[in-house]
């Protein structure tokens, strides 16, 4: 009596011949170059930017390879049921196809990975071997597309970078259109914000803030505000206490 599984052939035959790369991870932990003492403002930082871009590109192509090689879809890292529950916490969200949570699980994982890399870069720059919350906050600050997190992980401890930089960054980013731009060290934090204390301000829901790129979906706004009304984890109810939203929650 044979016990072969005839019906499940995709697992074993799937895409094993696609990638010939070795399993070594292409993203090297190269520390960013130290900024020269006196130079044009943009040069060292753009170099750092380029390096980060390259690393991220390599990261993403590696991710794709990894997925194409993975043959066991059951090893979902994030539980689909939990993801569904999180999605449904938004009352607006009604029906979800079977495929959607799978995409969300993967997207979530990719998101965590990207946030990890960017946070790690910050820790590296500050020569630390422990990744801290303010590394994550820094990553969020530096990355435009992470703007929706500005109030989730506020920068309450600005130890490593000059406080003046922080206000200047966001103002300059909006003006120049460059994703992240660090003005020269000596420059005071001008612009529409008070010196360095803008982080933690709920720019997300402030339409007059000017520097925040509004999320494209209006539905997002209502989720944001809805949470602010009901949830103790204030996502941006206007009061910037400067205290970490996550303190005391664990």
């Amino acid at each position: 009596m044979e016990s072969n599984n005839n019906n499940n052939n995709s697992n074993n035959n799937n895409n094993t011949t696609q990638i010939a790369h070795s399993s070594s991870y292409p993203l090297q932990p190269t520390p960013p170059p130290p900024p020269p003492p006196s130079s044009a403002a943009a040069t060292p930082f753009h170099h750092l930017l380029q390096q980060q871009q390259q690393q991220l590109q390599m990261f993403w192509s590696y991710q794709r390879q990894e997925i194409e090689q993975a043959n066991d879809f059951k090893n979902h890292q994030l539980p689909l049921a939990r993801i569904k529950k999180i999605m449904k916490a938004d009352e607006d969200v009604r029906m979800i196809s079977a495929e959607a949570p799978i995409l969300f699980a993967k997207a979530c994982e990719l998101f965590i990975l990207e946030l990890t890399i960017r946070s790690w870069l910050h820790a590296e720059e500050n020569k630390r071997r422990t990744l801290q919350k303010n590394d994550i906050a820094a990553a969020i600050t530096r990355t435009d597309i992470f703007d929706f997190l500005v109030d989730i992980v506020p920068r309450d401890e600005i130890k490593d970078e000059a406080a003046g930089l922080v206000g200047g960054i966001v103002g300059a980013a909006a003006a120049s259109g460059v994703p992240y731009y660090y003005p020269p060290m000596g420059q005071p934090a001008g612009g529409p914000h008070h010196g360095g204390m803008m982080i933690g301000r709920p720019a997300a829901v402030d339409p007059t803030g000017g520097v925040y790129v509004q999320p494209p979906s209006n539905a997002w706004q209502s989720v944001w505000q809805g949470h602010a009304a009901t949830d103790d984890v204030s996502y941006g109810s206007g009061a910037s206490s400067g205290h970490g939203n996550l303190d005391g929650q664990s």
Binding site: E2, N7, N8, N9, S10, N14, P29, L56, W60, S61, R64, E66, I67, E68, Q77, L78, P79, R82, I83, I86, M87, D90, V93, I96, S97, E99, A100, I102, L103, F104, A107, C108, F111, I112, L113, T116, I117, R129, T130, Q132, K133, D135, F148, I152, P216, S217, N218, A219, W220, S222, T230, D231, V233, G244, N245, L246, D247, G248, Q249, S250
Partner: protein, 148 residues
């Protein structure tokens, strides 16, 4: 942990901390050896990921509704990712989706095939029968496929 905060927070589902931790630690072990993660940072990762899910679902929901549909489908999610400027996720996600669909198609095809074969065998058995009981031998020989 303050119990009052706990009461409110527990209304919000969280991602399993051990899994978040694993994802972060594995990535760090690639990027920089012996990088440790502060507990507060792990919380921040978890919370950020949860908000990301909200952000993405709200956007996908919007897109779905614009198309006058009720159910958020895969394309809605992919389009939403582009809208929130996470297009660089699309490659890996499409690969995942493709694989999931293949696997499911394989299962369905296999299940359908198995049904067909069982049917065929039953018919054969019945035609072999001369009015007597079923022949045990035949059953043994022919029932070889695994179960779904």
């Amino acid at each position: 942990m303050e119990s009052e905060n706990q009461k409110v927070i527990s209304e919000a589902e969280e991602l399993p901390r051990t899994i978040v931790r694993r994802v972060v630690k594995e990535k760090l072990s690639h990027d920089g050896d012996d990088m440790s993660v502060h507990k507060d940072a792990l919380l921040a990762f978890s919370e950020s990921a949860r908000i990301f899910i909200h952000y993405l679902s709200a956007t996908a929901n919007d897109i779905c509704k614009e198309s006058k549909r009720q159910t958020i489908n895969a394309d809605d999610v992919l389009t939403a990712l582009q809208e929130i400027e996470f297009s660089h996720f699309l490659g890996p996600l499409k690969a995942s989706l493709h694989e999931f669909r293949q696997k499911n198609a394989g299962k369905k095809a296999g299940a359908a095939k198995e049904k067909e074969e069982k049917k065929k065998r039953k018919l054969e058995e019945l035609s072999h029968d001369n009015g007597g009981g079923e022949r045990v031998e035949n059953e043994d020989n022919q029932d070889g496929t695994g179960h779904a």
